[in-house]
């Protein structure tokens, strides 16, 4: 079953007539949209519409160049005028009389707009549907995430190559972005980080000061490549020839536990875990791993931190972000 068929099937099983989606990862999931990447959160707005009855996806975009294969009559154009947006969405067959509409965010202003688009509709969370959708093994994910992993890895190598005394986190971030671009990738999962591993700090927002000789530093690289993400992190000490640090004490145990059937909650006792795919694919504690899924796992102790993306199999996991 294709991804959109699986999505429509889940909509049917949950009695959802229409989905109004604002999150880019969700639009990527249903239509391979590649609209302009922007950093950070953005206010909810119905920027992608899925209608169960017509089996159609409609996209807020001025051109099909950002969603190849989408019929152009399913595009609705950018507008600043809520009345224009409401009219465009009401004109989509199956929207205005929808009884149950799933959304992936909301605001007081958007609520007023949605009330005019689908006046009778009960609103429900689209999050559960996407969690179920992402849990279905997807051959495109199995090839897409490793492609992103190659790029993320190249970014990390570029940072390692210049992890010298006096370098700044900003310089290393720039090198990582440049390495991504040499692979044709200009969008990150997150901007690269080189941050000291210390108590009380997150290791995500490095200070401005230059790095010092022998300082222990976490390097993080994450790429978003053709709509798929992969990321990794390693710990090094700063030197003319940077020295890789051993894995955290719980790493091999956590890695070994990443097999089909393991509950995510059990892994979380050892570190951080989430799905890697169209961005972060959130997993609940009781979610059991399935072969073919990609798990981002991260483990740290007082001295060192490591993060990789692994492919879940029936036996040992395969590290897709390894060298």
């Amino acid at each position: 079953m294709s991804r959109i068929d699986a999505c429509l099937d889940l909509m049917g099983r949950n009695g959802i007539d229409v989905m109004l989606l604002g999150r880019e990862a969700n639009a990527r999931t249903v239509v391979d949209a590649s609209r302009l990447w922007l950093a950070g959160t953005r206010v909810f707005s119905p920027a992608c519409v899925v209608v169960r009855r017509s089996r159609a996806v409609h996209l807020l975009a001025n051109t099909d160049a950002v969603a190849p294969g989408l019929p152009v009559d399913r595009l609705y154009g950018l507008t600043w005028n809520p009345e224009t947006l409401i009219a465009a969405l009401r004109a989509i067959d199956g929207v205005s009389n929808a009884r149950r509409v799933a959304v992936d965010g909301m605001s007081p202003m958007a609520r007023g707009i949605v009330a005019q688009i689908a006046p009778e509709a009960e609103l429900v969370d689209a999050g559960a549907l996407f969690a179920a959708l992402w849990a279905i093994p997807d051959p495109e994910k199995t090839t897409g995430v490793p492609r992103a992993a190659v790029v993320a890895r190249a970014g990390l190598e570029a940072m390692i190559s210049r992890l010298h005394p006096g370098a700044t986190a900003r310089q290393l971030r720039g090198l990582c972005a440049e390495a991504f671009a040499s692979h044709g990738v200009t969008t990150p999962a997150f901007e690269a980080v080189a941050a000291a591993l210390g108590p009380g700090a997150s290791t995500w927002l490095p200070p401005e000061r230059p790095l010092e000789e022998d300082e222990r530093v976490v390097l993080r690289s994450g790429a978003l490549c053709e709509g798929w993400e992969a990321s990794l992190a390693r710990t090094y000490t700063v030197a003319r020839r940077p020295v890789p640090q051993p894995d955290p004490s719980a790493w091999s145990e956590m890695l070994a536990a990443c097999t089909a059937g393991t509950a995510v909650g059990d892994l979380r006792a050892r570190g951080i875990v989430y799905g890697a795919g169209r961005g972060i694919e959130a997993w609940s504690d009781d979610f059991a791993l399935v072969p073919g899924l990609m798990a981002a796992i991260e483990c740290r102790d007082g001295d060192t931190l490591r993060q990789d993306v692994v492919r879940i199999t029936e036996r040992e996991p395969v590290i897709v972000t390894a060298a």
């Binding site: 990862a25 990447w37 005028n81 090198l175 200009t186």
Partner: protein, 391 residues
């Protein structure tokens, strides 16, 4: 070179912003302001989170609760090192996971039962707030953000300056045979090295078609812009539209330009640029307190009825913690909207008209000014055809 607006004082800037928010809450009868959008969180608290893709940023978001009359906002974050040092400890809290029902309910409880304004919520938080009568936070944020303090203007000017300096590194690389994505890489490296806090948008280096018909399908029969940069080798004669933006101390830049690849601009391209600049200059003659957005639209109009910009964007937009925010000038909100928008000192205008000669492509650049007591001051360098002396 642009001139500094003031000696930048970030703590004063944050204090001034809070004061404006408090005034707006008082005026709007809002007791509690609940902010989940990261640009709004940054505005109210100065708190920073890592620059990340949309959904990751949603999971990582910091949240602000500001109570009417409080000197400080409550900040909930996983990134305490991103919070300004002056925030008292009792206002700094561990993150609440508002993407989950448990975290959302915890925050809803913290928000109290008074009159609440909210900017944006993941659905679990929306559900946890239930049937409460919520005001849209724009009622508070709009009046506060629409004019900038001198410190905010200086942040925008410096952000723009970093963006412009980075383009000096990039322009010489725009040569035949070079993949356009290499320019993005060089730009991202340069802005990081020069001092950007973060990058905010995938840099756009888009080769434009000669005519709309020769380009990708367009819902509005106008040129389609922006489209994410393709890994395509540049060719002699390509007309490339550029659009980039970075973040400095929470403030956005916005750089737009038109470059010609591998040859000097021809007479038609020079004429397009002259007409582009004349459009901005006509509008600038009206930039002063008391003028309306409609005055700028009327001045920029050509031959009575042609609006030389993309109908799905604007003649000009504001910029601040968001890369495009109020005031909007010449949008599809219509003449009445423009007529009601009155320029005030501290408003910022990013002009981005478009001159398009179907069959001969066109020109698009961007220029930024701030409204002063008696006119305007430049926050960007003036646009130059083909990068001017950057080549």
């Amino acid at each position: 070179m642009t001139e500094p607006i003031c000696a930048l004082d970030l703590e004063r800037m944050r204090r001034d912003r809070l004061s404006k928010l408090q005034d707006a809450m008082e005026a709007g009868g809002i007791d509690t302001l609940l902010l989940c959008g990261q640009q709004n969180v940054a505005y109210a608290s100065g708190a920073r989170t890592p620059a990340a893709d949309h959904v990751r940023a949603s999971w990582w978001r910091a949240v602000v609760l500001l109570e009417r009359g409080s000197e400080w906002p409550h900040v909930f974050t996983d990134f305490p090192e991103g919070v300004p040092a002056e925030l008292p400890d009792e206002f700094l809290h561990r993150a609440v996971e508002i993407e989950t029902p448990a975290g959302a309910e915890e925050l809803a409880r913290r928000a109290g039962a008074n009159r609440l304004a909210l900017d944006d919520a993941p659905f679990p938080l929306w559900a946890a707030l239930g049937s409460r009568d919520l005001a849209d936070a724009s009622a508070v944020l709009g009046p506060a953000k629409i004019t900038k303090t001198p410190d905010e203007l200086e942040c925008i000017r410096r952000a723009q300056s970093i963006n412009e300096r980075a383009m000096r590194t990039v322009r010489p690389l725009a040569v035949p045979g070079r993949p356009a994505t290499d320019l993005s890489g060089a730009f991202l490296r340069a802005v990081a090295e020069i001092g950007a806090t973060a990058n905010t948008v995938d840099p756009v280096f888009q080769v434009m078609p000669r005519s709309v018909a020769a380009g990708p399908f367009s819902v509005s029969d106008e040129p389609v812009f922006p489209i994410p940069t393709a890994r395509r080798e540049l060719q002699t004669g390509d007309v490339m539209w550029i659009d980039t933006g970075i973040n400095l101390h929470g403030y956005a830049s916005d750089f737009g330009a038109t470059w010609i690849v591998g040859r000097e601009p021809d007479a038609a391209e020079r004429d397009q640029f002259a007409r582009w600049q004349a459009t901005v200059d006509r509008a600038l003659q009206h930039v002063q307190p008391g003028a309306t957005a409609n005055d700028l639209v009327e001045a920029a109009r050509v031959d009575d009825d042609h609006r030389p910009w993309l109908s799905y964007f604007y003649l000009a937009h504001g910029i601040g913690t968001d890369s495009a925010e109020m005031p909007f000038v010449g949008t599809d909100l219509g003449d009445a909207f423009d007529a009601a928008l009155i320029l005030q000192p501290g408003m910022v205008l990013v002009f981005e008209p478009v001159v398009w000669d179907d069959g001969h492509a066109g020109h698009r650049s961007e220029e930024i000014v701030a409204v002063t007591d008696d006119g305007y001051v430049w926050l960007s360098e003036r646009a130059e055809l083909d990068g001017g002396d950057l080549r």
